[in-house]
Amino acid sequence: MEILLFGITREIVGSATLKVHPEQPIQTVGALKAWLAKQYPAIGKLSSLAVAVDSEYAEDTQALAPGQEVALIPPVSGG
């Protein structure tokens, strides 16, 4: 699974995409968030973290499947 990164998450990871190769497959958005917070403690310290699947905000319970575009959405600050 490849994840698009923006803003502070891009800086924390150090690249604009993150290839995720967990030992066990990550099945849901919530599981992805938990895995990321473990791998990158700085991500766990953000004031909030959302995940977008195919460019829509996704609930923690949403299933992840191959072929989807997955992106991390740290707290937005446009405008």
Partner: protein, 136 residues
């Protein structure tokens, strides 16, 4: 509706698009780079967008505004990249038969844009920089 993510937002482009024979009131909101944030002197801002999703989210807000108020024309333009103090970053525009709807819908669109549209702002001060809203 005219919804774009661009290098430079253009007020004339927005106004030109909003002109409509059925409109009696056009409200334009321009968000600009302020020289001060939480008491710190701002040197510049850098904006980054997840463009495909940001456009989708802006379109959803525009559709929600059109459902709530009688709107003739609607514009949402947001810049990305480096912006200096005084430069425009975002333009919201609403043309309506009456001014009430134009003001209220503009206000709604900029308020909601700041909450949900995946765009990020990094503020650069004289001695450091920070991603706005990232930490509690």
């Amino acid at each position: 509706m005219l919804i774009k993510i661009v290098e430079e937002v253009d007020l004339q482009e927005a106004y030109h698009y909003l002109q409509d024979p059925a409109a009696g009131g056009i409200d334009l909101f321009v968000g600009t780079v302020r020289n001060n944030a939480q008491g710190k002197h701002v040197v510049k801002l850098v904006f980054e967008a997840y463009a495909p999703m940001a456009l989708k989210e802006m379109q959803k807000l525009a559709a929600a505004a059109q459902q709530q108020w009688p709107i003739e024309k609607l514009v949402m333009l947001h810049a990305v990249g480096e912006k200096l103090v005084g430069e425009p970053v975002v333009i919201i525009g609403v043309a309506s038969a009456h001014r009430e709807a134009a003001f209220t819908a503009s206000r709604f669109l900029i308020d909601e844009l700041k909450k949900t549209v995946p765009i990020w702002k990094k503020e650069f001060y004289e001695d450091n920089s920070v991603w706005v809203n990232a930490h509690p």
